[in-house]
């Protein structure tokens, strides 16, 4: 049964504000803005060092991605720092996401209406793959598929593109969505905070 609106008054929801930062897609702004945003996050919520380290990695890669692939003059970063998670959303109106993998070209928004539920392999080294789970023709959630072929990892099979891999491994959740209404690219990275930080086997 749906709660009535008046019951909302009894729910003590913390007010979490969204802060916006603009990046001019210039390499010299990359690190200063990373540290500015991290400073903002640390001012809002007491994150531990591991979370701060991952937040730095994620910010650097999101900004690097904007310079390399954005094709726009600037991008916007919206940051929500809550008690249990930090959400960083990068938006721009540049070129949509394009992934070439296994002989196929994926360009967002993907064609057709039957993309939901599919998974695609983006890249891998034989031991693990970076994959994308398609929610629909506009949204993809990135995830890591571990231990595909134990002992199959060789140096010559290592990928040379690590941006999406770094963010996916550092985050609790990482996804891309192409907003058709505004022709906006949105990358959303969600980091778990503190003791709930996701541990990775290395």
């Amino acid at each position: 049964m749906q709660p009535r609106l008046k019951h909302c008054k009894t729910i003590n929801m913390p007010v979490v504000e969204t802060s916006k930062f603009v990046f001019g897609n210039k390499a010299e702004q990359l690190y200063p803005l990373t540290m500015e945003i991290l400073g903002h996050i640390e001012n809002e919520v007491a994150i531990d060092e591991e979370t701060a380290q991952k937040a730095r990695m994620v910010l650097i890669e999101l900004l690097t991605n904007a310079i390399k692939h954005g094709g726009a003059a600037e991008c916007t970063l919206e940051v929500i720092a809550a008690e249990d998670k930090v959400i960083i959303k990068k938006s721009d109106i540049g070129e949509a996401l394009v992934i070439r993998s296994e002989g196929a070209l994926y360009q967002w928004p993907l064609p057709g209406v039957h993309q939901g539920g599919r998974s695609i392999t983006i890249y891998g080294d034989g031991i693990c793959n970076l994959k994308g789970s398609l929610a629909n023709s506009r949204r993809v959630r990135f995830f890591i598929e571990e231990n595909i072929k134990p002992n199959a990892g060789e140096i010559r099979n290592l990928p040379e593109h690590f941006g999406l891999m770094i963010i996916t491994r550092a985050c609790q959740a990482f996804e891309y969505e192409f907003d058709i209404a505004t022709c906006t690219n949105n990358f959303t990275a969600t980091l778990a905070v503190g003791l709930q930080t996701k541990k990775h086997t290395v």
Binding site: A27, L30, Y31, Q53, R56, M57, I60, E61, T64, I67, K68, I127, C128, G153, I155, R156, L158, P159, E160, H161, F162, G163, M165, I166, R169, A170, H200, V202
Partner: protein
């Protein structure tokens, strides 16, 4: 030039002379490393002591150079990683692909 190199018998130390190892220097870094391998270096120690952070482009260049080294029966090892850079290597498991040493001296001792 972003690498400052020094010969040690059949080994070379290559110190990265920049703080921000990002996409703006990745191509130069790769070209300089490949030139060392093509010049006959069989053991290259990439010293990252001065580096504050590395991005995916720089790591891609390093991995590309490692593949070139292996093809030429050479080896690339790294040293001087700060906590963030070491964390990044571990996060994407490049610590399995590269031998990591605390200092260039230690890397040379283990050659």
């Amino acid at each position: 030039m972003i690498l400052k190199t020094q010969l040690h018998a059949d080994a070379v130390t290559a110190r990265v002379e920049i703080k921000e190892a990002n996409l703006t220097v990745a191509d130069t870094f790769k070209a300089e490393l490949l030139a060392l391998i093509d010049g006959g270096a069989k053991y290259v120690v990439v010293d990252l002591e001065k580096v504050v952070y590395v991005d995916s482009s720089f790591l891609g260049a390093l991995v590309s150079a490692l593949k070139h080294a292996i093809t030429n029966k050479a080896e690339i090892v790294v040293c001087g990683l700060n906590k963030d850079v070491l964390g990044l290597f571990q996060l994407i498991r490049l610590d399995k692909a590269f031998k990591i040493y605390a200092t260039a001296a230690e890397a040379l001792q283990n050659h």
